[in-house]
Symmetry: C2
Subunit: 181 residues, 2 copies
């Protein structure tokens, strides 16, 4: 009896009842479903992030390091660390760390810029390009599978809604002290 090991893996996912209960507890006037949607989105984001790291570890990469390689490939195989940071939405310090490992593994190389002594170009090596080629089929199949349960039309809708949620989050992070509605 003390051994109530639950079959309920669903416990990790917040329910509407739980959201409503939390709102009621403090007599707040809020839409419980809005709270639920936000909570679920956060849970989904965390889950996808973890799944992504596992996925890329099969290729000896991390999510961040893959994104560096892919972004380099999208830019003729050469970029500045600051450009990578901007494209990936991470700090330059993070890019330095990502490149350190990619360089150690021979997938990129660093080169001094002639134009500006402060800059260092990051170059996609042939080995890096080969890595991308080799993993492409499996990687894209994985990406496609994450949305495989949605129809084409539903994907469009989802993309639209997700875009607006992203906007909402952006607005929140840009105005730290402001008051919503």
């Amino acid at each position: 009896m003390n051994n109530n090991r639950k079959i309920n893996d669903m416990e990790a996912i917040p329910s509407l009842v739980q959201s409503q209960r939390q709102i009621n507890r403090y007599n707040l006037d809020m839409d419980a479903q809005a709270i639920l949607v936000a909570s679920r989105l956060m849970a989904a984001g965390a889950q996808l992030g973890q799944a992504s790291e596992i996925h890329f570890s099969r290729f000896g990469l991390s999510t961040g390091r893959y994104r560096v390689l892919a972004d380099l490939e999208d830019n003729e195989g050469e970029e500045l660390p600051s450009q990578l940071a901007e494209h990936l939405g991470v700090t330059r310090a993070t890019v330095t760390g990502l490149i350190d490992i990619l360089e150690r593994d021979g997938l990129v190389s660093r080169r001094l810029s002639s134009k500006d002594g402060r800059q260092r170009s990051v170059i996609l090596t042939e080995e890096g390009a080969k890595k991308l080629r080799e993993m492409a089929p499996e990687h894209f199949a994985w990406l496609e599978a994450t949305v495989g349960l949605l129809s084409i039309d539903e994907r469009s809708v989802f993309l639209d809604l997700l875009g607006r949620v992203t906007q909402g989050i952006s607005a929140l992070t840009e105005e730290p002290g402001s008051k919503p509605k």
Copy 2:
């Protein structure tokens, strides 16, 4: 001075053109939009996760530590670490770390179980309950604001689609037979 990095850099958001270009490069037969949706979802998840940490840091908490407090409150203020781990979807090792800090800050306390010598109950202290009360209005307003750009109906649709994507990810992470290192 306000050198805050914007989490929502437009450059960080993958475009359909970019997705199609990647697919074409390797002559893969895939739906570029599916790739785009998956990529955007990952970006949104990461963005929301970062925004969440910033949000909770205003209350001296992290996302994980808040979730511990909230889950305790939803369970009469007392739970086992293993229950918390299951509810939060994190490992027991992570729960140990979360509780260490919450206990240090006086928001929870640990108590030995009389039933089973291996168990330790985690208790929400009065100070912990007070913290939840104090932050509730601002916190729920923040949560609601993240989906504030969606109508009520759209939130329902989004919730449904998100649920199926989550299912898809679960299926992916459970199935692959290859052994992790």
